[in-house]
């Protein structure tokens, strides 16, 4: 396994796409800080699985929507694992409802966690990355940020915002060997999409939901040395749904 001189931070890392991403990056030699909000057991289980496979992982409890979370997360990760050179902004929440019935709280909660927190973490991440003249940031967006999905105007706004932020920050820091990309998963079998998949499967050209591991494989590529010329891109991982 390649030895890395820094670490990766994965938010929303205790389960689903985040946990699969943490495992994939650890398999590529990255020590991984797994940021979780509530499910300590799941975060620890992911860390244990990584350790059992010969990798290194460290759980960090934090609510990324807290304005002070970014500094705390980076300080904790860097104290344990070294400078953070990879950031995967994966933490996300849903609060669905048709626009006429969407409350201010539902709007703010989703924007704060899915978009504002990703920006704050990105801003903080660029400090060590600029210094190291290397960095990889991957934002987990969604096809909902690219195509309408009634009932998710807040989620769509946040995810479309992530795509726009990805492009602009990528252009700002490209000359420092820092890449910033997004993945846009379609319907992936996770806790967040439980109950939605049966209705969706017929519309997906491959006739099934994706797996967290299939999204993680794309993130792993975007973090890899092989993806050094890919920046500002949004990689759609949706089984052809938006094709």
């Amino acid at each position: 396994m390649v030895t890395r001189e820094g670490c990766a931070i994965v938010t929303g890392g205790s389960r689903g796409i985040g946990a699969a991403t943490a495992r994939a990056l650890a398999a590529d030699g990255w020590p991984v800080a797994i940021v979780y909000r509530a499910d300590a057991d799941a975060a620890q289980a992911t860390c244990d699985a990584i350790a059992a496979a010969g990798g290194r992982a460290w759980p960090i409890q934090s609510d990324v929507s807290d304005a002070t979370a970014a500094d705390a997360i980076f300080e904790a990760a860097e104290a344990e694992l070294g400078p953070a050179l990879v950031l995967v902004n994966n933490a996300g929440v849903r609060a669905d409802g048709l626009a006429p019935q969407l409350s201010d709280d539902d709007w703010a909660t989703v924007i704060d966690t899915n978009l504002t927190a990703a920006f704050r973490l990105t801003r903080r991440a660029l400090k060590p990355m600029l210094r190291a003249r290397f960095g990889r940031i991957v934002n987990v967006a969604s096809i909902v940020g690219l195509q309408a999905n009634p009932g998710q105007s807040n989620y769509a706004a946040a995810k479309a915002g992530l795509v726009g932020m990805t492009k602009t920050v990528a252009a700002e820091v490209a000359r420092r060997n820092i890449t910033v990309n997004a993945v846009a998963p379609g319907f992936i079998a996770t806790d967040m999409t439980e109950g939605l998949l049966e209705a969706m499967a017929e519309r997906i050209p491959v006739r099934r939901a994706g797996t967290p591991e299939e999204v993680a494989a794309c993130i792993r590529f975007l973090v890899s040395d092989e993806a050094s010329y890919v920046t500002g891109a949004t990689l759609v991982v949706d089984g052809g749904l938006t094709a």
Binding site: K127, L130, R131, V173, R175, R176
Partner: protein, 82 residues
Amino acid sequence: MSTAVTAEQVEARVLAALVTFGADADVVSRDATWEQLEVDSLDLVELAQVVEDEYNVEITSQDMQHLLTVGHVVDMVVERAA
């Protein structure tokens, strides 16, 4: 315990930082402009980080618009660190 920051110390640190960013050591001086040094906006962001980390002086993007030479940065750091 705090130690007074001198203009000479700050100038030496800022010049050294600019050289690490790729500025020509023969051209770097207190009166040099960013254009002369071929220092770009991202270099200035990094310089602001160095200054914040080492002197606990924050230089905002608004400040940056008025800082046109190495000397301007040095003077601001010395003033704010005092």
